[in-house]
Symmetry: C4
Subunit: 242 residues, 4 copies
């Protein structure tokens, strides 16, 4: 069994173990990232998080070099989607260690690119991409309609509420936040109309708007459901062949 | 290539550039409108917004005169849907400049008619109109049912809550606002029942009401989805012809 | 044209005018009822509302007597669904005038029975009843499941939150209100978990619960949609016959 | 009629009465459990709740012994799903009476296992289990996607809001609570973004996220609806056979 098969394929037992190990490290790294944001960490926890960070970076670096080594076209790998993801997953560590600790917060966030490393192993997410591709055109039309609707709702509520609640509906942009929170029915309750006109307008825009907002949601849902059933059928037909 | 083809059709290259230019100006104008509502604008921003306003009004005025000039029946154009939209898009500027600056707020809002100018270029929105036409009858029935439901919910909650929260559920009209916010599941949290009876009533009205409210939403969604798939099919059959 | 046809049928012109007049009065009466709940009514408004009330009661009384007069079986009419509705629509007025003004609030609410008078004229609502009949069995199963879910969610959140927020999650019954507001995604924001355990529990219960809650909503929606399309088909086939 | 038929079957009249009696007691016991959590119980209520508790435990104990007595394989019954449920339903009472009253709260909660005793009688819940089995695979995929989405949303909002609202978005874990409340559109209003970036991010994550969250909900709904219609068909075909 050669190195290329181990790293790039997962149809051998060793290849699957290699993949599983990398996936485990990515998940560990993401959990460590979350734990690092905790405000009052004990010194012990900070120490262990640092150990995990160093360890994962070392492994990811080796993985990157291995993948670079086994690839037929080195330059193509470096600038490929997964090549860049793998690079961005380790770069922040070296940069923050090397240069300085300034603007460390942005670099810390770059570590999140590791989450995208999981995409390589995810058949489902590959299907998701094809699902989004399937409904791309409709999504553009309905996103345009949604943005138009939110703009219209924002200007309308601005007309009714801005003079009464100048702090909350101070501009059309503030009103857009209200429109988003209302039309998705999240309704945090930080901004809401208090005039009779604003309330009636909200009712009308909700009755019409919920139908328009429901379309992109429905499109994504049905495309995802379809791609899942396709995957299942394929699996069945694969089994029938063997 | 004559002027009529340039202005009214978009099957020539120049015609498409003309359309694209007007659409760009409409969008620019809408963004400028939003920016103008910002409470603390710098003098520089105000100046540039004024420049944009003057420029767009001049172009829209030329466009209006061009469309009037190339139309076969001048009077019919003036009182047509798009003719009136085009007029209302420029009128507020001339009126506020000419007469006086009083009641400027209403006139500023009239500028929003420019958004409707976009309808001329939007195939999707034309389809939306046909979608709404398709479900007109059902919408009327369900809107009646929705209004009946909201009325019933309002009177019910008035009975339970008005004596305990007289400031929030002071009349059936105030209760209607609660009913709208609750049955659309927005739930801002500005008004909610606190009595046991009011809470149980809310539960019952929600279980029944969500089903009734979901119908208009579903009708709009499915009609819009249908009209989009029709548009796609047409496009395919158009391609097959050529 | 005899009186019986005028009152009971609506296939003559006079019969339709009679129906329309009664429907208009019912609507007027419901609006008047809403206006009466306004806290600071002017004397003039109160006066006009009283005039409307007296006028509608007189007309409804005449209507009741007419319907009683033309019915073949007097006793059967009095104890029929619509006969009782018609009686309850006028009774509160006579009772509050006759006996005393005590407990007037309950009697005022009885006037709402007038809303049900509209049912006689509503083909749609007749269909709604048949829609509910269609899904009766499933509704009972899912309402049981919904109640079980709400009970389970309430006990769960009680376990997590009662010790930390004893005022808001003081008993399982208080927790039920949280469960209703959360599982319908209304989320007023008056009660919400603050412990980590309670928040994780909320996440799990929402993922499972939204699916269960969505079923009754979906059942009502599809039944209503079906009954509307049936009504349309019938209308088309009626037209084809003539 | 032998004892085995009475306890284990419900196709005799006595068997049905026995089942109905046990179901009634379970429901009574669950209501009693809820009432016990009321903060200010009168002594009389406490007394009656204790009587109900003792009575139900005695009956459940007799039922347990009966079931054990009539079972062919005693050991198999004790460690079967329903055998354990029946045991857990009575154990807390004996334990809290025997040992001590410490940590009574946990034991009180164990009494909730009685709710699961209802499962034995519920055909619908048996179907629910088969429904969940039907969609197990898809649920795992979408729950993974949902968790990924919530993680991504949490880290995103942490980046935008943690520096402005350090008390509410203090760590990625706190942000997850925001993500759950927002993506399920519950929107309690205890945490919400206040920065422009955070609000725009919320809009984008909602448009994409609602579609992904809607899939598990839709899967559960359609599986449940399918299993209900299966049940109905079976009932019809059963009737046709007889």
């Amino acid at each position: 069994m050669d190195l290329k098969t181990l790293v790039e394929k997962n149809d051998t037992k060793a290849g699957r173990y290699f993949d599983f190990f990398i996936q485990f490290l990515i998940t560990l790294s993401l959990i460590a990232f979350s734990l690092e944001t905790l405000p009052n960490k004990s010194d012990e926890l900070s120490f262990w998080l640092y150990i995990i960070e160093v360890f994962t970076v070392i492994v990811f670096s080796i993985e990157y070099l291995l993948r670079l080594f086994v690839s037929d076209n080195k330059l193509k790998f470096i600038f490929s989607f997964y090549g860049l993801i793998d690079l961005f997953a380790i770069l922040p560590f070296y940069l923050t260690s090397a240069i300085d600790l300034r603007s460390i917060r942005i670099f810390r966030l770059l570590r999140l690119f590791r989450a995208f490393k999981l995409l390589r192993y995810s058949k489902a997410l590959k299907r998701f991409r094809s699902a989004f591709h399937m409904i791309k055109e409709e999504m553009i039309i309905f996103l345009t309609a949604t943005i138009f609707l939110i703009y219209f709702a924002s200007v309308g509520i601005y007309y009714f509420e801005s003079s009464v609640q100048p702090d909350k509906f101070s501009s059309v942009f503030d009103c857009m936040w209200w429109a988003v929170a209302t039309l998705t029915t999240v309704g945090y309750g930080d901004v809401f109309p208090i005039t009779a006109g604003g309330k009636i307008f909200t009712f009308i825009i909700l009755i019409l708007g919920l139908g328009i907002i429901a379309v992109p949601t429905g499109l994504i849902s049905s495309a995802l459901t379809k791609c899942i059933s396709d995957e299942k059928e394929e699996k069945v037909s694969d089994k029938l062949k063997t």
